[in-house]
Amino acid sequence: MSGVRHRRHPRAERAARVVSGRTRPRYDMAGGGADVVAPSGRRRRDPRNERARLLTTGREGRPRLVRAGLSKLAAASIATVSSVSKKIRIENPEFLIAVIPDMIDGRLDRFDRQLLGAARKLADAGGGAVVVLGARSAPPMHETLGQAGADRVVLTGADGSDPEARVDELVTLLDRLPPRHVLLSESEDGADLARRLAARTGGALAAGVEVLGARQIIRPCGAGRQERASEPASLMTLAPDRIAAWDGAEHEILPLEIENVAPTARNRVQVGALRAADPATMNLGVAPFVVAAGRGVTDFDGFRATVAALHATPGASRVVCDNGDMPRTTQVGASGTVLDAVCYVAFGIAGAPQHLQGLGRVEHVVAVNTDLHAAMVKRAGLAIIADAQHVMPVLCEMLAKERQA
């Protein structure tokens, strides 16, 4: 047996914690921040007390523990980030990275931002600057471009209606810059333009790049069964949703002296304006908005009128097609069509697994069903527990009334 066993003396401990100067006795149980020394002589941790000391307010007012004891520092840094936002200026770049975004209607979409993110990666690896080649007909906002990571902007005159004239102009402009890399997105228009540029200049094209770094790019080939890793090419297209957009500090757009090019029309290829498809006859697999009927629908004339009023493409469950109420081409599901729609409205469809397979990529579902526990109701963003036969005519009426007003 070694020595005396120390025992706690609660009454004495309590007496030591008395806060004086009050009529009623009060005790300071938190211990004033100092660690408590156990009667054995070992210092004891007070986890509650520690937590209170480490607690700071983080992003969006969420509680946050700063373990390194830097709570005061952390609070200070949050304050500076939010108050001072300094634009990054690249005055004398080592080289240029050219970006040709699609910029439909002069707006940067998600893919254009990813393109700029990739360009920043290449530029920041060696002190380069990012040049955006935009269209003069729909000039982009400097502020949004700067936030997306661009340093310079050049506007081109030719629009997409004469692709050959556009390529002529771009080739001359790129000759004058000349950038180390040119980036486009592997979207419909970007892919076409990149290939036209590659064919005109005779250079190589790295198409559909999925991984991009300053030293290496990786792109699929061989029917998607193989991939090729190589150095970044002079002309590249990026696969969508692969490379993150720029989320650092805003860049400042500085002017760039470059002689403008007057585009000369060639008129061998003329591309007209986009014509949206007629939803009533459109291919179900590509339709953006589908309204479908299941066995809960008995009034099919009313259903067809609703679909027409909503300007949607009609769909149906298998039971409805089997009964001959809707044509087989409208069947949605495992043995029908898999949709690529933005929104799907289901009237009286239970949501069998074979049917839900057809909704693979659909983001928003609206269900009208009498059964609160139907699988389709669970899948829906807006679920209405009501009889479809009552809702459909009122829906038609409301839309017709709006149209008259």
């Binding site: 090729r228 928003h364 209405i384 709006e402």
Partner: protein
């Protein structure tokens, strides 16, 4: 009209075995929809048995330029220039992307550049009203079933979209009847090799779009009146942007 369809010896992406490429099969369908009188398949490279499959989709004759695989663009261009002395093709059709090679879809563009012809890309169908002779009106396929009219002067190169619906039916007897002819291509120097390391594909996760994570968060209406239900549906569809706003709908009706 005389048309030539460019055939690449592709593979099936799933099994890896030789198979016809979707875009090229559709190119045969488009050539027929355009009313091509003579239709010839052309492949730069030695003949392979899989090429006969294209015969089943409606080609009577396929010419293989053996020795042309080193520089397909040069071999194909040489053949077409030589053919134009005898009977010039008006139209050269190709798929949008190959399947099994570099798959960049660059070959038709390079060929058009070399021949000095215009190129119309991603075509799904001919347009109904055709302009005067010497020009062609085509429908370019775009996302969500939209189309863009493209007018192009002949002779031209046309690439056919993988989404085009002009897939000809397969006839086994035609596959057996097709003539696959080998023709020696003039020796061309080896085209530029692709540098880099080739290895099996590794699947990598895509970025998750912010739009998809921020859902509307399940709204439920139990036994509403039909009016409430209809109003809720219309408001929801408007907020998603799939239903035109009321004033737009009425103005589009007037025009």
């Amino acid at each position: 009209m005389k048309a030539i369809v460019l055939l690449s010896a592709g593979i099936d992406p799933v099994s890896g075995r030789p198979a016809p490429v979707g875009g090229e099969v559709r190119a045969i369908g488009l050539a027929r929809a355009l009313g091509a009188k003579t239709l010839i398949g052309l492949h730069a490279g030695a003949s392979v048995p899989a090429l006969a499959d294209y015969g089943g989709y409606g080609l009577k004759e396929i010419i293989c330029l053996s020795g042309g695989e080193h520089d397909p663009v040069a071999a194909l261009a040489q053949f077409l220039i030589r053919a134009s002395n005898v009977s010039a093709p008006d139209l050269v059709l190709a798929g949008t992307r190959g399947c099994g090679g570099a798959d960049t879809g660059l070959l038709p563009y390079r060929l058009a550049e070399k021949l000095g012809w215009p190129i119309a890309t991603g075509i799904a169908a001919p347009l109904e009203e055709q302009p005067a002779a010497g020009r062609l009106a085509l429908a370019q396929a775009r996302a969500r079933g939209a189309v863009r009219p493209v007018h192009v002067t002949l002779p031209c190169v046309v690439t056919v979209s993988d989404m085009a619906e002009c897939v000809p039916s397969f006839v086994f007897a035609d596959k057996r009847a097709v003539q696959v002819r080998d023709e020696r291509a003039e020796r061309t120097p080896q085209g530029e090799m692709e540098e880099g390391l080739l290895r099996p594909y590794r699947r990598r996760p895509k970025l998750i779009s912010a739009a998809r994570t921020g859902g509307t968060g399940g709204q439920l209406l139990v036994d509403p009146t039909p009016e409430e239900a209809a109003a809720a549906i219309i408001a929801h569809l408007r907020s998603l942007g799939v239903l035109a706003a009321a004033d737009e709908a009425s103005s589009s009706k007037m025009t």
